[in-house]
């Protein structure tokens, strides 16, 4: 299944603006991210704590829904999904 990953801000500098991934079998967002971490070790440092947990406040959306309101890292992916990764932007 084809998944589009869009990266913003700090993450874009590591993996580029947008990429299309062709995944086989059923996959979760966590499995997709693990694949990206293997390919881009710097992304792992940016997004995970030393203990391997996702850092707080990072925004991961699947088709416009924050995974925090889906099934977090267990959120399933489907053909054609668009994944967006962006860091917290909170100032004013």
């Amino acid at each position: 299944m084809k998944i589009t990953v869009r990266a913003f801000a700090d993450y874009r500098e590591i993996i580029g603006r947008e990429m299309e991934l062709d995944l086989s079998g059923e996959k979760t967002i966590g499995e997709l991210l693990n694949g990206l971490f293997d390919r881009y070790p710097k992304l792992r440092v940016e997004m995970l704590t030393p203990a391997g947990d996702l850092k707080e406040f990072i925004n991961i959306f699947i088709n416009g829904r924050n995974i925090a309101f889906l099934k977090n890292m267990q959120s399933p992916l489907s053909e054609g999904d668009i994944v967006a990764l962006f860091p917290p932007v909170a100032g004013g």
Partner: protein, 240 residues
């Protein structure tokens, strides 16, 4: 519309229409935060003829604000931002009403601040207060224009009760308040887009950033819009 107003807004009336400009004159806008975003939003809305601006902020002007908060000068250091901004905006446009409120926005003060307000602009610097404002806005069915910045990056979303999800549908947690690097031009870009969104919501013109999150990457010189969706289980605007 007075002859003065017809001449003053001559270059934008063709865009908004007489009715749109009249709606601007009748509009009450709360600008929450008078910092990097709030000063930009306030200046644009004052210049564009928003009839009533209420500016809420609990800070005083500091030297390190001056790289981005263009309403303030070194002579203002130590003064309350709300008061200084009110004075400057009055000079911008004496035919509008500006009310500066030196206040901390919290559960106890937010409802008074949104009284007589048609639209709220989120120009805050932390998500804890943003979520308080969001809850109040959706509770009273008032559109909320969210904006936030960090470094070269910024985001805007137009949140309309009954039509879109709320801020809490988009963001789950409150990132820790921190002193972060920020470029004045990022505030200029994001604040200007927020003001544009406010003008569109008020005048009824164009397509707003409803159900969309605009993300600005000034470092890459690129902007992207992603479609967003309401969280049906949201504790603020859903059935959660």
């Amino acid at each position: 519309m007075s002859e003065y107003d017809i001449e003053r807004y001559r270059r934008q009336i063709p865009l908004l229409g007489d009715e749109g400009q009249e709606r601007m004159r009748r509009a009450g806008v709360l600008i929450a935060g008078a910092g990097g975003l709030g000063t930009v939003v306030a200046a644009h809305l004052a210049a564009a003829g928003a009839g009533f601006l209420r500016l809420a902020d609990n800070d005083k002007v500091e030297l390190s604000n001056l790289n981005r908060q263009l309403l303030y000068t070194p002579a203002d250091i130590g003064r309350e931002k709300a008061a200084v901004a009110t004075g400057k905006l009055g000079d911008f446009n004496s035919s509008i009403r500006v009310e500066g409120v030196h206040i901390t926005i919290d559960d106890g003060t937010v409802n008074e601040l949104i009284k007589d307000i048609d639209i709220i602009v989120d120009a805050l610097d932390n998500f804890t207060t943003r979520f308080i404002l969001n809850k109040a806005a959706f509770g009273c069915c008032i559109p909320l224009i969210h904006g936030a910045v960090r470094g070269f990056f910024g985001q805007v979303a137009t949140l309309i009760p009954g039509k879109t999800g709320c801020l809490q549908c988009l963001f789950a947690q409150s990132p820790t308040a921190e002193t972060f690097p920020i470029l004045g031009t990022t505030c200029g870009v994001i604040g200007s887009i927020q003001a544009t969104e406010a003008i569109k919501v008020i005048s009824g013109r164009g397509e707003t950033l409803a159900n969309r999150l605009f993300f600005w990457d000034g470092l890459a010189g690129d902007a992207t819009v992603i479609e967003t969706k309401r969280n049906p289980d949201c504790t603020v605007c859903g059935k959660g």
